[in-house]
């Protein structure tokens, strides 16, 4: 069992720095409404901010900026050649329809989750798998995530499509983030870092508003590795202790100018104005669904 490091909770705003890769041009441009990082707002995480008003004098409801990280699959693929507003709108409608049936909770890479899937070949027709989310991707109905666990000393990874109707239930047992966006290095890490008990109970969070970042540094097995981890600027990995020539080669091969390339970031992301529109559209529906679920839970029918 992993020894629990001290969990530090950061303010939501600082979390943006960890998502620099995805949102560097956006964090500067989204200054349309007040940021949520103030101390009194910390309790209401999913409160909808109201814009000071447009021309007609009515307040416009805008989704909180964390939606970009909570529901990244609502944003379409940024490649301009394949974008079509009508198709994205129809896909979002379908996604919300599916979400009204199954609760797809907020989760991040590094969260421990349990997924129940309908399986014809298993004894009681349902298969439940518990694992840590090491990667998530895809947009729209193609959104997927990979869960990893070590079962009987064998590492197992399963890719689940979030909107597949065979999925009966998605539970988040431990909601937290890690220092990296992709935890693929767990494949080369010591097995204890990927092992989670299959009968793990959901953990209750102390502070409900902020998602904690686990600053765990993982120990890797000795080489050979599946990838050249020294070239990937991993934060969540302990010192690799490699000979200097590896680091020299990594420096030679590195592209340090990419962080200054504004056009590259622009092409990889959806513009802030569009994001606002999309999430404003989606926000009200998600809130309604959440409300209905709370009522059902209180009544005890869930």
């Amino acid at each position: 069992m992993l020894r629990r490091a001290v969990l530090q909770t950061f303010r939501q705003g600082l979390a943006q720095s960890f998502f620099k890769r995805n949102a560097v041009s956006l964090s500067e441009t989204t200054v349309t409404h007040q940021p949520i990082e103030t101390s009194d707002e910390a309790d209401e995480k999913s409160v909808s901010k109201q814009k000071p008003g447009d021309e007609s004098g009515n307040t416009v409801v805008v989704a909180p900026p964390e939606f970009r990280f909570m529901y990244p699959e609502f944003l379409p693929d940024p490649a301009m050649e394949r974008r079509n507003r009508l198709k994205e709108k129809l896909e979002r409608i379908d996604m919300l329809q599916r979400r009204s049936v199954v609760e797809i909770p907020e989760f991040y890479t590094g969260s421990v989750m349990a997924v129940t899937v309908a399986d014809a070949n298993s004894p009681n027709k349902f298969a439940r798998f518990v694992g840590i989310c090491i990667q998530r991707g895809g947009s729209g109905l193609r959104a997927w995530f990979i869960l990893r666990n070590v079962v009987d000393k064998q590492g197992v990874e399963i890719l689940y499509e979030m909107y597949c109707p065979l999925i009966q239930k998605i539970e988040v047992l431990r909601l937290e983030r890690r220092l990296d966006e992709s935890l693929l290095y767990l494949r080369d890490a010591l097995p204890e870092y990927s092992t989670f008990p299959l009968d793990m109970e959901p953990e209750r969070r102390l502070n409900n508003s902020v998602v904690p970042i686990n600053p765990l540094k993982v120990k890797l097995r000795p080489r050979p590795w599946l990838e050249r981890w020294e070239r990937q600027n991993l934060q969540g990995v302990e010192d690799l202790n490699l000979p200097q020539r590896f680091y020299d080669k990594a420096e030679k091969v590195a592209k340090p100018w990419e962080k200054y390339d504004l056009m590259l970031q622009y092409r990889k992301t959806i513009p802030a104005e569009e994001q606002e529109k999309i999430f404003a559209d989606v926000h009200s529906q998600l809130q309604q669904q959440e409300f209905k679920r709370k009522i059902r839970r209180r009544r005890g029918t869930d």
Binding site: E81, R82, R83, N84, L86, K87, L90, E91, D94, M95, Q97, R98, S100, V101, V102, A118, D119, A120, K125, F126, G140, L141, R142, E161, Y163, C164, P165, L166, I167, Q168
Partner: protein, 374 residues
């Protein structure tokens, strides 16, 4: 005996004179191909021009040269009002002077097709949990422009070729995507003067039997098709530009290492040196790839959204996203209609009731319904 001589004696059932060379009726069984075929390449289409960048000579000039006209905003508004007044869209369904005769449907009827835009690909699931890749086709604002009766169409250039040895059929000209008349030439706009419609960006011809004729100005929508039917989609494939032999023809190229000097993605030999002693026409070489008109036949419609005029078709269609395609009822004999479809096209019910917004195929899992339990 030459290769061709051998081929002639083995494959041709008729007695052929030595001068006649028959390449069309060749048996391509694997055993014989390995033995007698040096080049397994189709040569009959090698001299046909596959693509042009200009339209046919009988088309009128379409697009206007964009001139930087310095008009004041008031005058611009006035021009727009004039255009709107001139092109008030007529709908024959709501009591106009055009009459639609409801003729009977029979299995040999050819209905009109529809112009649509391929807006992307979406994943859907069947009732047993199997994932299906569906193409989303957005039926644009189609209107029938004119009908050319069979006798007249058979006299035209294309009609004469198509109906050389068979009974002629009529031709419906359908237009889609209304646009500002400013961007088109006067000759192009005159094509739409009879109907009184705003000029359309795209035009297409659909071969129809006389009993499926539609009067001009009839709108065609997604309801023209039925969920579960098979359609053929006709479009222009993705333009890859000038491509090498590995991507274009699937050649294996050469070894990546082991001392190979400058031979990684090349074609290699292009002839024997003995037989014919020249490069055969149709030899596969680098060249322009893509941007060709192709059919995808027998695609099944799994879902129709009447509100947004969108059809979901199982499989993929030729062409990139946001390109225009033509959809029509399939000609595959086993997947044709057995019952009458909306004939000659779909008309909304006269009592004003709205149709069902989202129609799904019985095999598909509807997103709002409970999860599948196997």
């Amino acid at each position: 005996m030459s290769t061709l001589g051998l081929l002639r004696t083995l494959f041709n059932s008729k007695i052929v004179t030595p001068n006649a060379i028959q390449l069309q009726s060749l048996n391509r069984s694997p055993f014989l191909v390995g033995l007698f075929f040096n080049h397994e390449q189709v040569r009959t289409m090698s001299r046909v021009k596959r693509r042009t960048t200009h339209p046919p000579y009988w088309h009128v000039l379409k697009n206007n040269q964009r001139q930087d006209e310095k008009i004041s905003s008031d005058n611009l508004r006035f021009v727009r009002e004039v255009i709107q007044d001139k092109y008030k869209n007529k709908s024959p369904i709501k009591g106009s002077d055009l009459d639609i005769e409801k003729k009977e449907w029979d299995p040999k009827t050819k209905r009109s097709g529809v112009i649509a835009r391929n807006i992307g690909v979406q994943h859907m699931w069947e009732k047993d949990g199997k994932k299906v890749v569906c193409t989303v086709l957005h039926v644009l604002d189609n209107h029938v422009i004119r009908y050319v009766p069979p006798e007249e169409y058979a006299k035209s250039i294309i009609g004469a070729k198509v109906f050389r040895n068979r009974k002629p059929l009529g031709c419906l000209v359908v237009g889609a995507e209304a646009a500002n008349p400013d961007r088109f030439t006067r000759q192009y706009c005159s094509l739409f003067n009879e109907v009184g419609l705003l000029p359309k960006k795209r035009l297409a011809r659909f071969i129809v039997t006389p009993n499926a004729v539609l009067p001009p100005c009839t709108p065609l929508t997604a309801g023209h098709f039925v969920v579960g039917q098979a359609v053929d989609v006709y479009g222009k494939t993705i333009d890859y530009g000038f491509q090498g032999v590995v991507k274009r023809w699937g050649f294996k190229g050469g070894p990546a290492s082991h001392g190979a000097t400058k031979f990684h993605r090349r074609g290699g030999t292009i002839g024997t040196g003995r037989d014919k002693a020249r490069v055969w026409p149709g030899q596969k070489m680098p060249g322009h790839m893509g941007s060709e008109r192709r059919f995808c036949r027998g695609l099944k419609i799994v879902r129709i959204n009447m509100k947004y005029n969108v059809i979901y078709v199982k499989g993929t269609v030729p062409g990139p996203t946001n390109s225009i395609v033509q959809i029509f009822d399939t000609l595959l004999p086993r997947r044709k209609f057995t019952e009458a479809p909306p004939h000659p096209t779909y008309f909304p019910p006269e009592d004003g009731t709205l149709p069902q917004e989202d129609i799904w195929d019985s095999n598909m899992h509807v997103f709002g319904s409970p999860s599948i339990s196997v």
